[in-house]
Amino acid sequence: MELRGTIRGFSRVPLLGWLVAAFVAVLLEIAVGTPLALSLGLPKIPVLFGVILALKKPLLFPGAAVYVLLIYALPIALIARLGAGLANRAAGRLLAFPLLVSVAVHLGVFYITLELWSGLSDYRDLVLRFTLIAVMVTLSLNVINGYMGEFSCSHPGFMAVGAYVASVLTIDLFTNHRVFGSALLPAALGPLTFPLILIIGGLVSAMSALVVAIPSFRTRGDYLAIISLAFMFIVKSLIENLDIVGGARGLGGQPDWAGLPTVFLWTVVCVWVINNFVRSTLGKALNAVRDNEMAATAMTVDTRYTKMVGFLFAAFWAGVAGGLFAHVLRYVNPGTFGIQKLAEVLAMVYFGGLNSVYGSIVGAVGISLLGEALRPLEIFKWIIIPLLLILVMIYRPTGLVAFKEFDPEAILKPKTDPERERDALPQG
């Protein structure tokens, strides 16, 4: 009874409340994190909530646990709970303005929290950037495998195309390279043209997707899976045989432009655009094609056009993500975009949940952080993660958070009485 009351109390906390609480916790970590960690016998601030530390040196587990409790769990719970009323009022007032204002405020608080949190350690920063890129890739694959209901295996190929196009452009235009010659444009222009370069990478990737889309959408069935798998290998072999981009040896020396703000901004734009796309008429048409193509045609949906647009759209975002990936890693080689990458992305999609923006975020963040946190377990990591996937497949065959609409307004709005709200929610 007591527990239920506490949980109900927390369910009244709006997103704004959680974000502000997290922000305060990060401030707390900056202020007292290091002395607290040292006094608990930890060598440094635990980097990923103490999991890595505790797995590596089990002796330090209690210290790490106390640290996480004191810095994260307790302050966040306390502030979220006590500030719920205030946060609800603030969230309500924000919604009186256009939705964009509210979204901007939330994202602002979220970004500052992430920036401060990752500012404490370069390792956090790197993990965060790769995680955000994983969100983009997963979400774009979900458009095909979830919303459109086809099975595509070509995403690593699209990423590779985007990564190489963007890398060649930045290296050629802005750096002195032994193959591409000296910089063609002044370096100051670089960061300004970088978004353009990423978009070009995405567009080229979408064009290359036509190679898969034209033959495979003439028919129904498993053809897409086979053709797209072939496409992935074709891209890989093509790059391996292109000596101008380094062949199998890879291409390095990309400028360091994909910092956290850039990656964060692109991820936000990606989530926003894809979410709007899948909630648009075209997105609904995608769902119709998935559920029953014949019926969709009868309802005047141009199925082939719909599938093409959905597929190219997903390829575009995979290309953009690939470009960012290349500039975070600052090196690309064809071996990276092989079957292993495919397995990783597919795992994220199916773990998180089909047909759901939430699911893609949960899947990408979950698998990325789990992969990082369980690193000290070495080979056992590859037993635990697949085991989790199997369990998810058994108990939730469509993924953790499948078929759930991502409605910004519903997420941002103040939470009054959870009981009443639950009744008001449409079922299903």
């Binding site: 440094k44 390792y123 790197l126 790769f130 890879g250 990936f325 600052r330 090196y331 080689n333 990591k381």
Partner: protein, 389 residues
Amino acid sequence: MKLKALIPVTMVVAAMFALATSVSAQTIKIGLNIPLTGDIPKVGEGSKFAAEMWLSDVNGAGGLEAGKKKHKVELVIEDNESKAESAVKAATKLITEDEVLVIVGPQSSKQAVPAGGVSQDRATPMISPWSTNPNTTKDRPYVFRAPFLDPFQGPVLANFITNEFKFTKAAVLYDQASDYPKGLAEFFKGAWEKLHGKGSVVAYESFTTKDTDFSSQLTNIRNSGAQVLFTPQYYNEVALIVQQSRQLGLKSPIVGSDSWGSAETVELCGKDCHGAFFSSHYAAAGATGATKAFIDRYNKTHGYVPDDVAALTWDSLRIVATAINATGGLTGDIKKDRANVAKAMAGIKKFAGITGNMTFTPEGDPIKCAVIVRISDKGQFEFYKSVCP
């Protein structure tokens, strides 16, 4: 009641804190960025075993000497899953979280190239025991390597074949999709054509990783009239290539590169490989002195003869120890110490390693001798000849 139950718990926790804090402060941390899972776990295993042997030696002797003080050494081992992005994460973690003084690894070039960038940006010395891609150390004063480079190995083999057999026509068979064989094939071809003129490489055939049937390429090679076949491949492919070429009636000698130097080569290939030559970092059979001591000890603890990657990791760690020793004492400021170690490492002259004597060039690449190994009729790797630059 509740309070009473809490007392033992508190005591245990307090004891754990006490234990944790009692670890002495002045230890030297050395990071190991190696592939324990992924495509080449055997490489990671060999590196790990060699590193652990080295660690027990050092700590058994009371620690690593720097200046007049002895420091205990701690190895921080990170698995890089044989992936480029994972190697970059591991390197960043080792540098910023574990605050290691030096990083040893990654082993393969596809990870060493990007991880080297991280080390250079964060001014942390790194030495790759196995990477042969020139870009790993290029323009990176903080990044070093232990193996000789392919631009050296290619000509060594071309010269060896020319002097030993007096051949003038060679054939090359290599994996087009893999970084290392492709590079080496090119360097060999260049060196051979320099010796015998254009067109003296009569067959230049390629395949793609995971191909298992080489009959069409080998038929071309047989018909080309080549006197020798050079194939810089890994052990699993070597076995297939050599066996298939013998079945097709190709009688010419077959020569390989340091990638042949795995215990598996002979095991998979059997009698067909007997009598073949390859260049390597060291020869296990007939080794003497420190090299033999290392091989015997490794064999005794782990039950197999160590591959070259283990020997090179061993040498890398000893180079690190030599460099730390040469700094003349640690200041305690990790940034200064890292810079000092990098400087000391660049100044190492005539380091006596179990894979040969090394002196570093300004690029951070060693000048060292290659060993030509003959696979004996018992299937052992015999020392045949040493070739120095």
